[in-house]
């Protein structure tokens, strides 16, 4: 869909973008994506320099890495790459601190990752991660984000409330723009007018929850969010990973695990048992209670498809109001999308295909990206993309079509550091315009994990203690 962009508005936008990068959310999508790539890159580079200058003095780890790499200024995008964070950065505390409830040192460590001054935070009385989160909230602007897979070491991202607010506004903008672009009845939500349930099959609250849910209710009214998993307890969430880490240190490690936490292992078993029931109960509500209503549903592709197929099996077409909206991502369990899945799902759900939006994002960035009608993910203006050689992590040329490891600098990050190297393999198109009319670089739909390539390699070094079921074993003991 190509819309003519008012040159006056575009001029105002590009001027404002130089002063406030987040201003793009005050403009319609066609304006935001109308800047010629070279011009946008000039603005981004200016921003990167500002962010770098502030962080070198303001974020201890960035300052140290810059010094180690002899970087004192950023001449071009690639100059900043050696000081990007990666998953390891947010997990780089010694596990024993967590087990010994040494949150004083955890706080000091966290303070080195961001520009927020945490020196005055007194975490000495904290006994659990939940306590620590509460103390950080009370005594600083940090609203801690946790990422922890079932087995990995917990990663702590020091996001401030202000940053979260920026993220929520950017998310809402994304939703509104997507709804506006739908062929048919959907239109952006109006505060005070539209009361549309937002259904999200995840946690409603807690350190791992999607912060947008609160913002949505604040904006459109209480009681609109349906997120069945309740409150996620950060200590329980991380326990499996902590046991796994500890088991690598033999008896010494097992002795380190906080006994108070270990005593709660039954709670984990209960939560794990309840989760499928809660999700199924949500599915039932969607099959029955929400029928014919206008809804917004945020889920994995697999879940959206499963829902639609349940309707299809019952012979139901048009299950929801035609102006409903579906956001999904994450792909299918089998790794390949069923043929024609979108059309079949749209028919069952009763919406135009364009009301199913696919997104790609990660928690290390404050914004995500959406797939356009031409099947490409457009990179937000506030994000500087990089594609790296997968083995050397060296940047690939910023031209043509390149495949490799995705890295980015998130210019919306304020007290956090925006540079991050992901584990995702992407294909980027730097200079071939997309048929949808958006300017700038975009990613192909196919995104996978970089690690997959190396699975087949065998070496003799390693430990069976790193078994991924070590935690299960101990939790059941």
């Amino acid at each position: 869909m190509r819309t003519r962009v008012d040159p006056e508005v575009a001029g105002l936008y590009r001027q404002q973008l130089k002063d406030t990068i987040s201003c793009y959310i005050d403009y319609p999508e066609e304006v935001v994506f109308s800047l010629p790539p070279a011009e946008l890159d000039d603005i981004r580079l200016q921003w990167l320099r500002r962010k770098f200058d502030a962080a070198v003095g303001g974020i201890a780890i960035v300052g140290q890495m810059a010094q180690q790499h002899g970087i004192d200024s950023v001449g071009c995008f690639d100059d900043a790459l050696p000081i990007f964070y990666n998953q390891e950065t947010f997990q780089s505390y010694p596990q024993s601190w967590l087990e010994n409830s040494d949150f004083k040192r955890m706080t000091k460590w966290l303070g080195k990752l961001c520009a927020v001054d945490l020196a005055a935070v007194d975490a000495s009385s904290c006994e659990s991660i939940e306590d620590w989160i509460a103390v950080l909230q009370q005594q600083s602007s940090v609203d801690l984000m946790i990422s922890a897979g079932g087995n990995g070491k917990a990663a702590f991202l020091p996001r401030t409330c202000e940053e979260w607010m920026t993220a929520q506004r950017a998310t809402l903008w994304g939703i509104q723009m997507a709804m506006q672009a739908v062929d048919g009845d959907a239109a952006p939500l109006q505060s005070g007018v539209d009361r549309v349930p937002l259904i999200y099959p995840g946690a409603r609250a807690g350190a791992r929850s999607w912060r947008f849910l609160d913002f949505y209710e604040d904006t459109f009214g209480n009681g609109l969010v349906d997120a069945p998993l309740g409150y996620t307890d950060a200590d329980l969430l991380t326990l499996a990973g902590r046991i796994r880490e500890a088991s690598r240190k033999g008896e010494a490690g097992s002795l380190q695990i906080n006994p108070a936490l270990l005593a709660r292992k039954d709670e984990i078993a209960r939560l794990n048992a309840e989760k499928p029931l809660q999700i199924e109960a949500l599915m039932q509500r969607m099959l029955d209670d929400y029928r014919d209503q206008r809804i917004i549903f945020y889920s994995s592709m697999q879940m959206l498809y499963d829902l639609a197929m349940r309707f299809e099996q019952q012979g139901i077409k048009g299950a929801y109001a035609a102006d409903s909206f579906f956001f999904c991502g994450g792909g299918f369990v089998s790794g390949t999308a069923p043929d024609d899945w979108k059309a079949r799902a749209a028919a069952a759900l009763g919406i135009p295909e364009s009301a199913i939006r696919i997104g790609y994002g990660m928690q290390e960035s404050l914004t995500g990206m959406q797939m356009c009608d031409h099947g490409n993910y457009h990179i937000p203006v506030c994000m500087i993309p990089y594609v790296l050689d997968e083995t050397t992590d060296q940047p690939l040329p910023r031209s043509g079509r390149q495949q490799g490891r995705f890295a980015f600098f998130d210019l919306l990050a304020d007290t956090s550091w925006g540079g991050y190297i992901t584990s995702d393999r992407v294909t980027i198109n730097w200079d071939q315009p997309c048929g949808c009319g958006h300017q700038g670089a975009y990613l192909d739909a196919a995104i996978s994990r970089v690690a997959e390539l190396q699975d087949d390699k065998i070496g003799c070094a390693g430990t069976a203690g790193a078994l991924d079921d070590a935690a299960d074993f101990l939790l059941r003991a």
Binding site: I61, F84, R248, I458
Partner: protein
């Protein structure tokens, strides 16, 4: 760049390379479709193995000695090709592989082969060894080779070589799964054997095939008790996890598990400049040899504190000495990292930020030494690489032993008295080898126990033929009560 990796199936080279795999470091390789050639890879009948048992062990040894003489990389084009493949696909520097390939021939001397035979007992390999049992029964015991898949490690050529020798000595039928990081050696050996004696039963009993590890369609067909009786799997947690899906009654699994190695520095280590220097030189070799890719590389050293006030200061100085000695290692033994992953680098960089807790020396492509000032090993100690060592000061052996798990293969000790004092205790904690500091790479699994296994004995199937009549043992039901 694309390389072709043939299948060698029972003496036949198949070069119909139609399946392409993306390798690491930008090179691709293509192979024949293993599904298409499964029947060539498998023995058509167990009777095929009879020819092996018409050979004497002397003939087997003669074959291997003659084979070894053809393994001079200077004039063996197959090994030269293997080296080229290692350069493209392995993360071990090519001269280290070259060194290992040049050293191949040591496995093929008569003396080395006889020493390997001795680990099983020549009589058990040659034929039926007789035992007279107390009841009068006469037992004849013979160790046999059986159709076996060998999933070998790819961090060097030794897996393919040891498998060749071991398989010949027990007269088994080996299907080697070529590792994606070491694509050349198994094929090179098989082709050298074909050049030498194309129809020899031993030549026809060593096949080499690449398939993608975890290719379920192929593995389901291959790993069936009617096809193979044993899987010998080296290293790689993922690879063993895949394989465990196929283990069932009728298939025996022998694993050489992924392992790591550590050092114990007794209190006497820091007693004088001289002992510090000596221990640093030795420890540097254990850390740096082969660029710390192997299971028998040291990643952690526990230093027993003598309780003196300046201990930590001295330990930091010792750490610097180890780091310097790593830099002094001769290039044929060790070198700076070639490909260094950013995640690892940033882990070290983050530790260096925590300077109350860790003292970090280096931490770049030269390698590094991390001293845990508070006596707790780093969380990723077992994943240390690029010649990086974590030294952990501890008050006594009790504190040290609580860190020892069954994942520890080798412990290097200094001074020597530590071995005598601790070997039994270490063994009870799961340690499988205790050696002098500086000698971790001196390991010879062809004659000494391999990861806690007597490899040749375990790779054999022990068959019993009984004679219950000669000494007139009465039939069970006629035994007088």
């Amino acid at each position: 760049m694309q390389y072709q990796i043939p299948i060698v199936a029972r003496g036949e080279v198949i070069e119909d390379c139609e399946v392409t795999y993306q390798g690491r470091y930008g090179a691709d390789f293509s192979c024949p479709d293993p599904n298409k050639y499964l029947s060539s890879i498998l023995l058509p009948s167990r009777r095929e193995m009879e020819a092996l048992y018409e050979l004497t062990i002397d003939e087997v040894v003669d074959y291997l000695v003659a084979f070894g003489q053809r393994l001079d990389i200077a004039d063996n084009p197959h090994l030269q090709r293997a080296l080229e493949l290692a350069e493209a696909f392995n993360d071990v520097p090519v001269y280290l592989i070259k060194g290992a390939l040049a050293d191949l021939q040591r496995f093929f001397t008569r003396e080395a082969l006889e020493a390997m035979i001795d680990t099983v007992g020549r009589e058990h390999l040659e034929g039926w060894k007789t035992y007279h049992r107390a009841t009068g029964r006469i037992s004849h015991i013979h160790a046999f080779g059986v159709p076996t898949v060998h999933v070998i490690a790819g961090n060097g050529p030794s897996g393919a070589i040891l498998t060749f020798v071991r398989n010949a000595l027990i007269r088994g039928y080996a299907i080697v799964k070529i590792p994606s990081n070491e694509l050349g050696t198994a094929v090179a050996l098989a082709r050298t054997a074909i050049d030498m004696a194309p129809d020899h039963p031993l030549t026809r009993s060593y096949s080499a095939v690449y398939w993608r590890g975890g290719d379920e369609a192929f593995e389901r067909k291959l790993y069936h008790p009617s096809n193979i009786e044993r899987i010998v799997a080296w290293g790689g947690y993922e690879s063993i996890r895949h394989i465990s899906n196929y283990v069932r009654p009728g298939i025996d699994l022998v694993t050489f598990d992924p392992k790591i190695s550590r050092a114990i520095l007794g209190a006497a280590t820091l007693a004088s400049e001289e002992t510090m220097r000596e221990a640093a030189i030795r420890l540097a070799d254990d850390v740096g040899n082969g660029n710390q890719n192997g299971c028998s590389n040291c990643r952690l050293a526990y230093a027993i504190s003598d309780g003196s006030e300046d201990f930590l200061e001295k330990l930091m100085r010792f750490g610097q000495m180890v780091f310097d000695e790593i830099q002094n290692l001769p290039p044929e033994i060790s070198s700076e990292a070639i490909h260094m992953d950013a995640g690892f680098k940033s882990k070290i960089a983050m530790l260096s930020m925590l300077d109350d807790e860790y003292h970090v020396i280096g931490g770049d492509k030269r390698g590094g030494v991390i001293i845990s000032l508070e006596g707790d090993q780093v969380d990723f100690a077992d994943e240390l690489k690029y010649r990086t060592l974590n030294i952990v000061p501890l008050q006594d052996y009790d504190a040290m032993l609580s860190f020892i798990t069954r994942d520890v293969q080798t412990v290097g000790v200094y001074p020597e008295s530590v071995r005598d004092e601790l070997r039994t205790t270490l063994a009870l904690h799961g340690v499988q080898r205790i050696t002098s500091l500086g000698y971790m790479r001196h390991f010879d699994p062809s004659v000494d126990p391999h990861d806690g296994n007597e490899a040749l004995r375990k790779m054999s199937t022990w068959v019993l033929a009984e004679d219950c009549m000669t000494n007139e043992v009465p039939a069970q039901w006629r035994k007088p009560r």
